[in-house]
Amino acid sequence: MERVVITGFGLLSPCGNSAQSFWEQVSQGISGLGPVTRVDASLLGNNVAGEVRGFNPDEHFGRQIDLLDRFAQLGLVAARQALADAGLATRLEEGNGGPAPHRVGVLTGTALGGVESEDASFYQLYGKKSPRLHPFCIPRMMFNAASAHISMESGAQGPCFAVSSACASATHALGEAMRMVRNGTADIMLAGGADAPLTLGVFKAWEAMRVLAPPEPSAQAACRPFSVDRAGLVLSEGAAMFVLESERSARRRGARIYAELAGYGASADASHITLPSQQGPLRAMQQALLDAGLNPGDIDYINAHGTATRVNDPIESAAIGSLLGEHASTVAVSSTKSVHGHAMGASGALELAATLLAMQNNCVPPTANVTEVDPECNLDITPNQPKAKTIRAALSNSFAFGGLNAVVALRQFK
């Protein structure tokens, strides 16, 4: 069995389009949420979202842009950043001394795929009564588009597909990719998540579920996980991609190793399509620890799923409390969704980036915007202020509608 290490990562998020800017905001609890600009905000009940700003697709793509939905654009640019960060060539070639292309794979999570293209195309059909759709609709809409473009551009010829499990997509992708490296299927997996769900259709669909936060007291402070006055989740977009590599491959090429992706647990509640259970998330966390050979006492930080919905936060808190037992009071927990929002299938990847950066910087990022901790969320949720702390090992939680749970464990590499 190979140990799996992280040797590079890249991201685009509402908190900046580089790991550095992301950490500057996330570590200080500076919100990247704001009023919506990507759709006509007058049609929205709650005018707040986490948009990726300062991203001009034309600066990144030539003619290929015609084939790229926004989610694939974000995923592809994050993958380029990750490859560069890992010291890998933009284009893998046989026999140039680098990793063999057929030993490198791609796995991206996405909840909604090319929904922006789908929304725009179907509006032409239903709204404008257009007799035909653009022939690039299918390649833009398909959920595997980000994975495919990353493979095409990088030359990665190993296993390549997409994982879709709503809000847990990226964490499932990262966990499954880790297993592929661990069991020798690939030496390197480019894995993470990408989603760009900020379309009118998606906003209105979420609005109908009555779980979106209003922009109060401000758009920036709309997302308040674990806070007694939390009022719902804030939709956002983004992508984060990681280079997961066998320790052997990383050592062979002298790569810098950030940390070990040490464990993965996945479970299903098998109960309700939207209401989470406590047992399902608990089993996923327990499996991640077991998989990593960790005990609850080894964990110093948990990046919670922490959506800021009325339902999620107390149930997740109870599950974490049950996992940690006597250690619950010493483990720092936070939800960085408070600043980057809920980027759907990309969330787990952005949150693994936050967890990794926390470990690198010996600093627990806060749960921002907390007015008063909900007594039903009886954990150290790191309200509003970062906390200096050595993080030996950490968990990153993602729980999806459908009761699909995924958790990854990160450990300092020694």
Partner: protein
């Protein structure tokens, strides 16, 4: 060879979709020479349908493998007479 207005329009559509300079496209150029693959081809057919507000049948589209063939198929569909051959 002098090209007529329709040929010129087709060349301009192909140039726009393929991000090529229009002057680099000769009326007798094949799609292969222009590096137009099958996906590019359906994209060009879509652009023609939009421009001329017509529906090009699949079997007609399949036979469009050069600028000349596109123009000929289009002319047939638009039911316009061919320009007089140069004497």
């Amino acid at each position: 060879m002098e090209s007529d207005a329709l040929t010129q329009e087709v060349i301009e559509i192909i140039a726009r979709e393929q991000r090529l300079p229009a002057e680099s496209i000769q009326p007798n150029a094949t799609f292969e020479e222009l590096k137009i693959d099958s996906l590019d081809g359906v994209n060009i057919v879509f652009a023609l349908e939009e421009k001329y507000n017509l529906t090009i049948p699949d079997e007609t589209a399949r036979d469009m493998k050069s600028v000349d063939q596109v123009v000929a198929a289009l002319r047939k569909q638009l039911n316009t007479p061919s320009p007089a051959l140069p004497s």
